[in-house]
């Protein structure tokens, strides 16, 4: 089979069917961009989980002078040194506790300053507003309840918080977004497939003269079908290239520039470029193979060989 002959046939076919080809490209691009986005999102969630679950565990916030007036659990005033020592000692006695870190109000203030910098909120905060706390790392993060029940009602303890809860909310939100993206992707993929089937049908019909002649002179079915499959694969490949562009631009504008989440949410460690790049071959492969397969199926129905 001669490449130039086949390529010229593909070009003719695509141009003849320009609007439909365009529709195929757009729908493949959108569905694959969503697919890649969902992949990246789940990777983002996993990276964040790895990162945070390691660092964040149970925080026991102690009452400061302000809390004594606001918070009910701090009715007996700010935490005393003796209470602090008692809590720390009790924590260290527990088997499930791995490490205990005492964070002073001053340290909390510094960390806060570092995270929020020169924003307006940060300017209004003073060191005495910050709470002293024990950061407790558990051997098994699931045993949070044991710590909570032991320390929540103690004098001088404002609250016990499992910081995973805050993250869980975020993660479940991100997970939800990922699932939504996958659902939309599935829908777009169905649309793309139907468009491809229809494109092939129209294409096969408009070229029934050529294919009829090809059949008569003894062209193999592979030879007759090839241009149609290549057409679909080519349109799909264009679509997946566009999808790759979306993913790269997405990371660029969401994380580095534009929305610049990396700057605004410094606590979050975002996925790197390598994560995006490793997804691109998969996106391209699907963009190439899925339309080719759809075209192949459509040809069985619409192109008599």
């Amino acid at each position: 089979m001669r490449a130039q002959f086949v390529l010229s046939e593909i070009g003719v076919g695509l141009r003849r069917n320009l609007t439909m080809t365009f529709a195929v490209i757009v729908s493949v691009a959108l569905s694959l961009a969503l697919f890649g986005g969902a992949l990246l999102m789940s990777q983002q969630v996993n990276t964040m989980k790895d990162f945070w679950y390691d660092k964040v565990n149970v925080s026991i916030f102690l009452c400061n002078k302000n809390d004594a007036t606001i918070s009910r659990s701090c009715g007996k005033g700010a935490v005393t040194d003796q209470q602090k020592h008692q809590i720390e000692a009790d924590l260290k006695k527990m088997d499930i506790v791995e490490t205990v870190h005492h964070e002073t109000a001053e340290q909390a203030y510094k960390l806060y300053k570092k995270q929020y910098g020169d924003t307006d909120i940060a300017a209004t905060i003073t060191p005495d507003q910050m709470q002293e706390s024990f950061r407790v790392k558990l051997k098994d993060p699931e045993e949070y309840q044991v710590v909570a029940s032991a320390f929540a009602d103690r004098d001088g303890v404002q609250s016990v918080r499992d910081q995973r809860d805050i993250l869980e909310n975020l993660f479940s939100l991100m997970n939800g977004m990922r699932i939504a993206a996958l659902c939309v992707m599935g829908l777009m993929l169905v649309i793309a497939t139907m468009l491809i089937v229809n494109t092939v049908r129209v294409s096969a019909f408009s070229r029934r003269r050529e294919t009829g002649i090809m059949r008569l002179v003894g062209a193999s079915s592979f030879y007759i079908q090839m241009p149609f499959i290549m057409e679909a694969a080519f349109a799909g490949l264009l679509g997946s290239v566009v999808a790759c562009g979306f993913l790269l631009l997405g990371r660029y504008f969401l994380i580095d520039n534009g929305l610049a989440l990396a700057e605004k949410m410094q606590l979050v460690n975002f996925i790197g470029w390598d994560a995006v790049f490793t997804k691109l071959p998969l996106v391209l492969a699907i963009g190439l193979l899925m339309p080719a397969f759809a075209a192949f199926i459509a040809l069985r129905k619409y192109l008599k060989v």
């Binding site: 002959f5 003269r209 059949r215 003894g218 007759i224």
Partner: protein, 229 residues
């Protein structure tokens, strides 16, 4: 070359079979006219040879092969040894004369050097030398049919199937086409031609096979058209 053994063909949703119990032999190098009124089964007969259809019962052998047992993917190879010419020429309107002929070689993957040599040769043979660059739309009906014959013959088939090749042509042009087919036949190619053209059949005095309502009613060497309209 072609052998039908008790061949019948019925199409779904049609109570009358298109062919009924047809048996015949066509030898290598023969020139055979296939006559009969519309709906007599001529087209079905040709479609069975081309294996566009399969016989409902009976055996069809073409070029020594049992078509019922020929697997689908081998059909293209079988068709490469057949040339086909139709009433409506079936040329590609957006390709030149030479490209139309070359198309038959391109799709079976002939090397380009061979195509470049064979195309002018066969165009000379059909009397279209010098018209390689014309588009089919610029040619007369007779010339278009010559292009179609050139395309059918360029791969030097063993068997040429012609389905009313003169059906759209005036008598004078038809004579030219028949001379051409006769010449091709003399190179050793078997020709099977379905036709309604009484004058041609009567003049050529070749073997005539007549079908009527799907039945073989006459098989006559050096025959005439036979029935009046």
């Amino acid at each position: 070359m072609i052998r039908f053994d008790n061949v019948s063909k019925s199409y779904p949703k049609q109570n009358r079979p298109a062919l009924r119990d047809v048996s015949l032999d066509i030898e290598k190098g023969e020139f055979v006219f296939l006559v009969g009124s519309s709906g007599s089964g001529k087209s079905t007969f040709l479609r069975l040879i081309l294996r566009e259809e399969r016989a409902s019962t009976g055996l069809v052998h073409v070029l020594g092969k049992d078509l019922a047992r020929l697997s689908n993917w081998k059909v293209p190879h079988m068709r490469r040894q057949l040339g086909t010419v139709f009433q409506d020429f079936r040329l590609l309107p957006n390709k030149t004369v030479a490209e139309n002929v070359a198309f038959a070689q391109e799709v079976i993957g002939k090397p380009r050097g061979e195509i470049r040599k064979a195309v002018p040769q066969v165009l000379d043979l059909v009397g279209l030398g010098g018209k390689e660059g014309r588009m089919p739309g610029e040619l007369s009906g007779g010339e278009q049919q010559r292009v179609a014959i050139a395309r059918a013959f360029v791969n030097r088939p063993m068997l040429l199937i012609a389905d009313e090749p003169t059906g759209n042509l005036d008598p004078q042009t038809s004579v030219g086409i028949m001379k051409l087919l006769d010449r091709i036949n003399r190179t050793g190619t078997t020709v099977v031609m379905a036709t309604h053209d009484q004058n041609i059949v009567d003049q050529m005095r070749k073997r005539v096979i007549e079908l009527e309502q799907g039945r073989l009613v006459r098989d006559q060497a050096r025959g005439v058209y036979g029935y009046q309209h």
